[in-house]
Assembly symmetry: C2
Homo-oligomer: 335 residues x 2
DNA sequence: TTGTAAGCGTTATCAA
DNA sequence: TTGATAACGCTTACAA
């Protein structure tokens, strides 16, 4: 039922190569017939087959994205950046979600490769190191892959990251400058490097200030509100609870906030909170959240550029983007 | 450079049809050679070409999704539902984002069709009626399309919706039962039918209660926090401000909440707020948001099932899912 | 300006 | 159990 160029050719009694040319607006076919063919194609409801075309062209003009968690607003905003510049470069974008499952991530990458996408962008890889290595050796050279965030240390390749260490430092320094001395940290999953770096930044800032890092004040979260909520409850139950908390990300901060209010305390009067990411929603939190902004759109744009460069065999460099503290109303001097 | 079955055949000095069979684990090739071939394929870093396969199979085993706004958490959660059941049915999923732009939506659909996906799910279509009609006539029958939410009235086809009217009614009745009499409504974009229905539900509930609908209490939002924030400011500036507000969705409610706090008022003591969607984050809002839940995952699951049925030429029915009021802490009797 | 034919990487139908 | 060979729907030399 699907109409092909052969059908059009048959209907018009011409060769199908002419139809192909006409449809591609080649000057090598007389303007008149070209228009007739296009007209006919339209009438017959012709829809070119990208799969046939890709097969012969050996190019799909699409970039595949694998995102770790589609419900994470930080990722969603990065993706918008990717799409924007990809579309402007004439590349289509298809997205797949691994839902934080390493095996699904690997399967998704494999799938995209089988589809012969021109390049792949991993928005926060979650697969383990070993699988990752296999990814970048073996059949690797075929499809350029660039990773945004959460790059494993050993991997030297094509990656874009925020300066997480400095971000963690900025957040913590801000709290120190406000006069806080008991500053807690709710971490992300320990398997993720960005979280490790943020925590290091936190520890560095404390040490700079001559404070000792108190392990009791470092509590694991899960990068979702649930984890922040639980972690904060744990912190509030401490004999000597913190007066400020630096959270792995904004979602964690939201959960932490909830726990604080539920305990009958106020923010920032009784407790200050800092997040990370600066998702669009953060300025609408109650109170508006002080947080460390990542250059989300830029990350996406850069990643696309990197894929494109790789495709053209240009050399590319790993890239670390600066983070930036955004002070809003969730932080204040201790009571 | 990419190795194909022909390369493997050549390397092993056998015909490539045998290779093909072996790789598909056909019993029609001797176990021993089968294993040898698979071994060799692995060593040579063979990665099958989905595009070549799709061309001959005339099946891609993938469902395409077009989502209106990837940063809308409601959509993100629906998508999770889609992926879950699609993957369980052996279908891959590729996602594209129209970012609320009708032309991008249309382009995305066209693109998915050219890729010959087996079916398309529109998560909240945004294109205008006329384009939509064209979509469902002309080349329409090729690719089954089902729409989740925001279905145009004229379109009778394959769609899944929440009972928005009843949802709006439930939300408003809840406020009425608490004793509110001046209840405002912050709408979604007026171009979207789900919003129209929610508003109708709101008006019906008021009328049931013998109240007149005051146009001054109906203010447009934009289905994002920004819109809710602005609308709420407008409402608070009224000579006689409302004591309760029903918002088009949770994001709007978040913005509205912010405006209330910024004005120095409390929720729910001074003003009650109800949202719509029940995104995962809603229970972490401050205060936890009373809202109308949509069956997000079920919608996704149902949509996939519908696509699959359509593919198998079964008849399917439009489907309206019930909505459910979730009472949390953002609503209380008026002061 | 148009047509013929090869080839892209598979699957599938025949024969052998 | 294996091998030729014809599709699938397109692009693109090369001929005419």
């Amino acid at each position: 039922m699907t109409v092909s160029i052969k059908d059009i050719a048959k209907a018009m009694n011409i060769s199908y190569s002419t139809v192909s040319r006409a449809l591609n607006n080649s000057p090598r076919v007389k303007l008149e017939t070209r228009q007739q063919i296009q007209q006919m194609a339209m009438e017959m409801g012709y829809l070119p087959s990208a799969v046939a075309r890709s097969l012969v062209m050996r190019r799909t003009n699409t970039i595949g994205i694998v995102v770790t968690k589609i419900t994470d607003l930080f990722f969603a905003e990065v993706i918008q950046g990717i799409e924007e510049t990809a579309l402007n470069s004439g590349q289509n974008v298809i997205l797949t979600n691994s839902d934080g499952k390493p095996d699904r991530e690997l399967a998704a990458i494999q799938n995209l490769r089988e589809r012969r996408v021109d390049g792949i962008i991993l928005v926060a890889a979650c697969a383990d190191q070993e699988s990752k290595r296999r990814l970048f050796t073996s059949a690797s050279f075929e499809t350029p892959i660039v990773i945004i965030n959460n790059v494993h240390r050993e991997y030297i390749g094509h990656s874009i990251e925020t300066d997480n260490l400095d971000g963690g430092r900025q957040a913590t320094r801000h709290l120190l400058e406000l006069g806080h001395r008991r500053i807690a940290h709710i971490t992300g999953p320990t398997s993720e490097w960005d979280g490790v770096d943020r925590q290091s930044g936190y520890e560095q800032a404390l040490q700079e200030a001559g404070l000792v890092v108190d392990p009791a004040l470092i509590v694991p979260g899960d990068n979702r509100p649930e984890g922040g909520w639980q972690a904060m409850q744990q912190l509030l139950a401490l004999a000597q609870p913190p007066t400020a908390v630096f959270c792995y990300n904004d979602a964690t901060a939201l959960g932490a906030t909830r726990a604080v209010y539920a305990a009958g305390l106020r923010i920032p009067q009784d407790l200050s909170i800092v997040g990370f990411d600066d998702i669009d929603l953060a300025s609408f939190f109650q109170p508006p959240l002080t947080t460390v902004a990542q250059a989300k759109r830029e990350m996406g744009a850069l990643a696309v550029q990197m894929v494109l460069d790789l495709l053209n065999h240009k050399t590319v460099q790993d890239c670390v983007l600066p983070s930036r503290l955004v002070i809003r109303e969730s932080t204040a001097p201790p009571a």
